[in-house]
Symmetry: D2
Subunit: 419 residues, 4 copies
């Protein structure tokens, strides 16, 4: 974790402000809708991240704290069964009141009370909960970006969220491979910084020798797959992927549109614009990532292969400038950028399962990670929507294989030839 | 039709203003959601009624008129297949942009152009289309009230739309019956005022002698049905009604809530408040109306029976003050109020079918009514959400038998005993 | 009703034998499946018609009668809520045991007990129930034919149920119209023969003058509608019909197949064979019937118009030979056959609603008809699958507007021109 | 693999006969239904296993071979996209013709042709295909047992498939644990016998020290979980498991029924009978296995942990008599039976993913395994329905986590305490 020289209170208030900043470019109407199940209304994120601090810190630990509104716990709980009834996920988009203004007031109310609590000093247990709340809010900042892109990108007028920036227009480098020797490696987080429970329990894995691409697959390369008929030949696809392609009539990544014979893409920067062939392909499902790999005669790396490669080769990427939202640079200032950190989340071939020494924490926070460990795949590396301080080598993101509204992409791997 | 001493332009502008007025009590967030399929976002109503004038009058008849935005036709068409592709009904609630402000600008743009067109004088054909547009907008004003009630009434905070008014607290009158003799009667609209195509073709029907209640069934009376176990005994119910009750776990009319053992109702006036036992029962489906009638050993009237009774007895109701939105009076100033006009739409036992001489008009306006003539039931009389000038004896409203978000209620009928 | 000179017991046993005869051409496997919700397994019909006599006659009226198997009531009840829990309709096709042999034993057991009961003489009440049971079984004989056609006709090998017969190959007559004068007419059944409760309560209706086709619409005529693009132009269709056409990709009546550019039809007689252009079109939904009528610029008759026309003109059809299963003759021996009785059920434009004096009987048999009086349309005249003694002028058949696995067809009507 | 001293032809014919034997206890009606998506009609298995030999061996390799029926390829293909159109899985239960007799004729036709082919001698490639066909048919023999149990066990009369056998009524042993040291182990199949492609590519894994139960969890032990409220407390459950429990109102393993307060179970042996507390719990989903483990404070083993433990400790189980269908013995003749082979398939905590060196074979047989490698979990050990020669240490069975119509059970594991 990148260490920041700021007080805990400053960090807390900074993160809280950031969430509001992200929403400041939205109209009130943009805050309220839930166009598909996986997208939550921005207003809900504003409320839910606030509810977290109210429920887990203020309610029991700030004497004299008054709950802002007794209905809000019902509204803004997400999936914590321990904390009582909640609005069913698919109904979140019907709640017009409280409006945005009132939810922002709720935030102020909680932030003031939190300042008071922080000024009084926190026990170690509360610092742990506060840290979790901060990390939790950073995760929701990322989800907010996904959801905003979905909401704006599905309006018929394709409004931009940010202005287009000019950028260094380097050619994309030819594909190379980074090599890892066969052997026993250690996986998982080891203190002292923050990590989620699912990264803990550093343990050993045996890896056979492999090679892994030194940059991400680009839009241009993915376009070749499309043009080769990749979406209409079953042999590339997992059986459930083939069903998904056919039932949903998938023909390209999310946000790609063929307009008058030309491929366009919707971007938060600049709205609808010509496909950027050099940018990493993104908004693809696991099914698409896996099909592309099969078509190329290669495979996705496991999460362990990715983590070990990143531990060895990630510094180039880490040192270069992190990308801002949808502002991809194909080369760093220093030359080749291996894009291991912070461009797009990279699908791995690993299912999201507990590490050997995994233990879910006691209490409601024990519902944070462990109960999702089935039917999802691991993604590594962080994306252009991830807060920089939130990215680390051991971070295990996870999504269902059919989802693609997040910034997801891929790099390929292969076994080392043994002669 | 009540004749109004105003110019066509004044009428037009008055109706247009009324729609905006109805929405003026809403937040931007309230304008955008579609919580269930039958509810449209208020913003959509604002746009759709405007689109009607732009499409059917301005586009071809005002020289030099410029379409406000070429995407709006796609957004705000409802079900006119003749006029091209439209946003699927269930997706209307995802469109956050254009926002409310821009849709109000669209209204201004069209109203100014319409004023210009009106100032130039209209041909008879255009007057007919204008009249249809006005009536169409009045219908949407009524739907707006239903939809607003649904949106506000499904927020967990139950916000009121209007303030409660004090009212004359008369006891409800005992039930009496109005009598009609056996014979041949005429049904349907006969000029000169406006009517929809489905009311035209005045024709004869034969009615056997019958009696019909001289007021509506009240909440208090419907409560007796609930307390007698009416929702849990299959014999009262149509087979499809019984399925509907069980699949949706229906236990009471829409907007009724049992809170701490007491029956409450959500009203546009005053929000959640104790059930008004003297007000007409409303927000019931055809299935509930029919089950109640069977439980009472009576039946619903046919649309023909209702229309003939109203022709004979409706003047009392017409003369008394029309109810305002959810402001029911059980007695008129003059004494008994038979509530035939303007309290709640009354379910009849008639399916919505063409009259013997029915002919759908040519062109897109021919899609207005005729294509819905299957699987729906006729309701008569107008409701507290209907514009007064929009109510007439021959008006045929129609809804699917399971719907109840509109102001729907009932009165009962029986055959005259022959001795 | 055609009076038959046979004892009640002979009639009972004859009807019972007929059901078994219908099934005798099936394999055990054919008896057990339920390919779509509306089709019941033939074995279920065998059991259900037997259950009717056991439940309503033997159980309470034959002293010493022993229930054949205590699970069978659960298995073979259809929709009588009064008589306890039943197998959900969509699960009927999973019940492999009891097998066909055992269900036939169940029939024998019940038939023997019924013979004993009949030998002892019946009270008037029991005669009424017996008559209802006989009529009920005749209705199921007809449903059996529909269901057998569906089951065999959806096997990839298209097995025939009966052999093809040679037939008189008359040209079809040109369309003529039968005329009815404006006036008051009586509708509904009047003793002394049997009728269902929904036909009772003879009452008056007022009919404006109309004309009605003197034969049915043929396959050849319906083919013109298809070739004119009838299934792909929305203006002919009711809104729900248009949805149904598109969601189900309907392009022709059920059982029509285009094979190598030629239209074929599956028939119980002879299996898959070339479309018979002169036979009445059948296996069409109400939506298709209505769309065809609109395309022709005519309309469907109401059930009242049909009944009055049949009362006046039906004898020609009645006198001619009834068609056997799918053995249509376009002309009778005596010349023109107006096909009012017994070819295909004719869609009318009337919704299935109670007659003015309708009263549902007390007890479980009260569930026979009344509870289905919503969202269905009336058909008149009987079909080639209807038992001849089961056809009468006042019979009201009814189906949902999207169904078409029954022998349904149409004739058109128009208003008499008034000069 | 157990080596059998029989010729290839004898083995082939023996396996073919076994499939027919399994079905010989069924009525024709039992052969045809598909009560839920995952269950295939027994007749379909009879046809599909035959189609395999016809398609992959006879069609191209026996000169002069005539296809039995050109529709059968369409009917009996399962999921091989390479081999053309197939009957959609959920429609398999509607095909009544060809009947059982004809499908048995199809089997004879193919078996005779295969004998002829075998008599002529086979190339190595054909021997490989033949072996795959034999293994494939053995897999379907197992599925047949599952499907027959589902079909019979969902008839309201609960018919038995086999008679109950008396058995040694040993007490179940107390739970002990088998220990494995930390280290690098080898996983996967290594010649010379048969294996599926998904077992190939023997490779190394690193295992931390662990202990694994020395027998399976019993019905009696699982009953304690139920009685402790295990199905109604969310903390034991994966999030998707909790949804599954609630949506399907799961309260116990499949085939358990509480009758008059007593727990009963449906068994192929003897039909409905009192719950056998000493038999291994079976017919549980992954969700239930995982919830049980969490409730006990332990965990499921990974597939690698299971395989390594079986390699070390499996011989006891292998040496003892294999269980016959649903004939479980809690102790072997030699004393404790660790039940690693052949009682019930044991859920592991491993997702079904490719091994590091996995390669799907070319051609249609490449669709056998690889395309299912997402969203499924691995089970190990074989069940009482598995052919004995079909069981081996490296076998990887796989099912979706919600399924439980197969004989699935569990044993628990824990990490070795490090002091």
């Amino acid at each position: 974790m990148i260490v920041e020289d700021v007080s805990l209170k400053e960090r807390f208030l900074g993160v809280r402000k950031k969430t509001v900043d992200i929403c400041s470019r939205l109209s009130p109407e943009d805050h309220v809708v839930q166009p598909v199940e996986e997208v939550s209304p921005p207003k809900w994120h504003l409320g839910h991240t606030t509810w977290f601090f109210e429920t887990f810190l203020l309610k029991n630990h700030l004497s004299g704290y008054e709950i802002y509104h007794d209905q809000f716990s019902f509204l803004f709980n997400s999936y914590y069964e321990s904390v009582g009834e909640r609005v069913i996920r698919t109904n979140r988009g019907n709640i017009t009141r409280p409006g945005v203004e009132e939810v922002l007031n709720y935030r102020k109310h909680v932030d003031q009370a939190m300042s008071q609590l922080l000024d009084g000093g926190l026990s170690d247990d509360l610092i742990t909960l506060l840290e979790l709340g901060i990390q939790h809010e950073q995760q929701h900042q990322e989800l907010l970006i996904y959801d905003i892109k979905y909401i704006l990108g599905h309006n018929p007028t394709f409004p931009a969220y940010l202005e287009e920036k000019s950028k260094a227009d380097g050619e994309v480098s030819p594909i190379g491979f980074m090599t890892i020797e066969e052997g026993v490696y250690s996986i998982g987080h080891q203190g002292p910084g923050f990590s989620f429970d699912n990264e803990l329990g550093r343990h050993k894995v045996y890896l056979h020798g492999y090679e892994i691409m030194d940059r991400l697959v680009t839009n241009g390369e993915f376009l070749e797959f499309i043009e080769a008929g990749g979406y209409s030949y079953f042999r590339h696809w997992l059986s459930e992927g083939w069903e998904w392609v056919n039932q949903n009539e998938i023909k390209a990544p999310e946000y790609w549109h063929k307009v008058n014979g030309e491929w366009m893409m919707y971007s938060l920067r600049g709205g609808l614009k010509p496909l950027d062939l050099h940018a990493p392909v993104t908004h693809i499902s696991y099914f698409e990532a896996d099909a592309y790999a099969k078509w190329k005669g290669l495979r996705l790396p496991t999460e362990f292969e990715w983590e070990v490669a990143c531990a060895k080769y990630g510094e180039i990427s880490r040192a270069s400038n992190f990308v801002e939202t949808e502002q991809f640079e194909t080369k760093s200032a220093e030359g080749k950028n291996n894009q291991l950190y912070g461009d797009v989340w990279e699908w791995t071939s690993s299912a999201y399962l507990p590490y050997p020494f995994y233990e879910a924490p006691e209490g409601a926070v024990g519902e944070y990670n462990g109960k999702f460990m089935v039917n999802q795949m691991v993604l590594k590396g962080g994306s252009c929507a991830t807060q920089r301080v939130h990215i680390r080598n051991t971070y295990r993101n996870f999504f269902h294989p059919h989802l693609r509204w997040m910034f997801s992409g891929l790099r390929l791997a292969k076994n080392t030839k043994t002669t």
